[in-house]
């Protein structure tokens, strides 16, 4: 049996570390951790729906966090449901809508081809329960075309789910237009958006967007893992998908993760303190990283759009002739932590569905790397990353037969079996 501790020893702790994997797991700043600590054993450690002081203290932090979130989204009416992750909130949106629809005539669920798995999988599962599952294609930069969307929805459509910002390639959809074309076809079609990668980076106004449901996740904004939120428009009926003892949440059973909710509240406060400044900083670092990689490393492709239609924190590049998992490990040894859309960890020979959906080939998707920048990164961090990437890619291209084969003559290639 392999001991992970021995693997860690072999890896060693790099002297310089830059964390750029905030997509998969957010780095949590000390202020957020400090905001959580009292709720374990000093105050609010009670159950938020029990009538004693620690319970009321817990209830208070749940309520104040939700109030703060409402303000940041300009929610005037409607409900916020606390779940224990973004995945759970997305599942509630999709499955809860389908359950509430029961045997009605609306049986069609329309989602974009590049949604997160926590939207795609529950939607696809409903196919087995008599629903029709339709995916909307995207263009080479990941955009949903409003005309195509309007052709795919009809008066038998129950639900449309299209994310505001793509989690892998940072495409910012023109969501307001997408909602409008759907509602123009039939105003009763329910529109859900997974906004976990938009929150804290884009101004979101749910009333203005006209969405019926919207998902948030704490760890995507440097809060702790373990808190998700689903906004449900006033009057919209969805069914619970989990049953148990209810607490402050009518739609989600189980005792609330109060310390994490306190941390999430702090993370929201920090994300919206100097919002413009944070976004500007991330954009500058993003462009510095994109330009630096494309200038210094040959045979690279940027995945997703450039400029104002790209999320301020997203950089996604395919390095040709090398495989993504190798890149993540090579960079990890250099103290740079990123993730890849390679198939190497999925073993179904299927790399990232997002990179394939924008028209990239398998071999281009295998070498894709996601760098998720945060306001906690500095220019020095990006300079260090840019100093290491050419060396890392060059070393792996030395190992790979493909980089050299693409340059060799056809005659020489024939010696290969």
């Amino acid at each position: 049996m392999v001991k992970i501790s021995e693997l860690l020893e072999q890896h060693g702790k790099p002297s310089r570390e830059v964390y750029l994997d905030n997509e998969n797991s957010g780095w949590v700043p000390p202020e957020v951790v400090e905001a959580m600590l009292p709720y374990f054993n000093q105050k609010g450690y009670g159950h938020p729906s029990i009538t004693n002081l620690p319970g009321w203290e817990a209830y208070e932090v749940v309520e104040s966090t939700l109030e703060l979130v409402k303000k940041t989204l300009n929610i005037r009416s409607g409900e916020l449901v606390l779940t224990h992750s973004g995945t759970e909130a997305n599942n509630l949106a999709i499955l809860g809508t389908a359950l509430a629809a029961n045997k009605g005539k609306r049986r069609k669920i329309v989602v974009s081809a590049i949604e997160h798995m926590s939207v795609l999988f529950p939607a696809r599962t409903l196919e087995e329960r008599g629903f029709k599952f339709v995916t909307v294609p995207v263009d080479k930069e990941g955009f949903v075309n409003p005309e195509i969307l309007s052709m795919l929805v009809d008066n038998e459509t129950l639900l449309v789910s299209i994310q505001m910002v793509n989690h892998e390639i940072g495409t910012i959809q023109d969501l307001k237009t997408l909602v409008k074309v759907v509602k123009d076809v039939d105003s009763e079609i329910i529109f859900h958006t997974d906004a976990v990668d938009a929150y804290g980076r884009l101004k979101i106004d749910v009333e203005d967007l006209g969405v019926d449901m919207l998902t948030l996740s704490s760890h995507k904004i440097h809060g702790p893992k373990g808190v998700g939120v689903l906004y449900v428009r006033e009057g919209l009926k969805i069914s619970p998908i989990l049953y148990g003892a209810l607490s402050t949440q009518k739609m989600w059973p189980g005792v609330e993760n109060v310390p994490a909710i306190a941390g999430f509240g702090k993370a929201v406060e920090l994300a919206f303190r100097d919002f413009e400044g944070n976004v500007e900083k991330m954009k500058n670092l993003r462009d510095m990283l994109i330009d630096g990689i494309l200038e210094t490393v040959p045979d690279t492709l940027l995945n997703g759009p450039r400029g104002e239609k790209r999320a301020p924190d997203n950089v996604n590049v395919s390095f040709l002739h090398v495989e993504g998992e190798s890149i993540t490990i090579e960079l990890s040894l250099r103290g740079i932590y990123v993730s890849s859309g390679s198939a190497c960890t999925s073993r179904v020979l299927e790399p990232s569905h997002v990179i394939l959906a924008i028209g990239r080939k398998h071999e281009e998707a295998h070498g894709s790397i996601l760098f998720k920048i945060s306001r906690y990164n500095s220019r020095e961090d990006i300079e260090y990353v840019l100093s290491q990437i050419p060396l890392a890619i060059e070393r792996l291209r030395e190992i790979s037969p493909l980089a050299k084969q693409s340059k060799r003559s056809i005659d020489e290639k024939e010696v290969y079996a």
């Binding site: 790399p351 996601l370 030395e398």
Partner: protein, 165 residues
């Protein structure tokens, strides 16, 4: 992103990833073979230098994950000095064991490395020596067959989705 599995790599794999042994193209190789395909995200090239019935040198190139690189590297180390028959008798399990174990979803890396080696040995006898020793089976070995299956699977997937290769 895609479905993920935690990867408990052995320290040996990371060590070989950092400092691969027998890396690189061999210009005076007696035989070269390749297994896998870029579309699968796995390609291993095996170079053998043969003198009489012995493998006197071997090297590799790899496009793939850390397990892929480590499997190819350790295999070339294991076969140096061995007779062709001894090298043929190696199995993917031998390579996985030498690496200190592989996570199950990475077994194919070891299979691909051994498949590439067996392909090279077969090619050496069939195309270069033009003779066939008694111990070399007519049918493809398990590893050669699985390498072929992986290559064909991606071709079929590409055809299905209409991708031009």
């Amino acid at each position: 992103m895609s479905t993920r599995t935690p990867l408990a790599y052995s320290p040996k794999i990371l060590e070989l990833f950092k400092n691969p042994k027998n890396l690189g193209r061999m210009n005076d190789a007696s035989v070269v073979s390749q297994a896998g395909s870029p579309a699968c995200g796995d390609v291993i090239t095996i170079y053998l230098k043969i003198d009489g019935d012995k493998i006197i040198d071997s090297s590799f190139e790899s496009y793939g994950c850390a397990a892929n690189i480590a499997a190819a590297s350790i295999l070339t180390e294991m076969i140096k000095g061995k007779t062709l028959k001894e090298a043929w008798d190696l199995t993917w399990e031998d390579v996985a064991n030498e690496l200190g174990g592989l996570p199950p979803i990475k077994y194919h890396c070891s299979i691909l490395a051994v498949g590439g080696l067996k392909r090279a040995i077969r090619k050496y006898f069939e195309e270069i020596k033009r003779e066939k020793p008694e111990w070399l089976p007519k049918d493809l070995s398990k590893e050669e067959r699985q390498a072929l299956e992986e290559e064909e699977l991606i071709e079929r997937m590409y055809k299905k989705y209409g991708v031009v290769t």
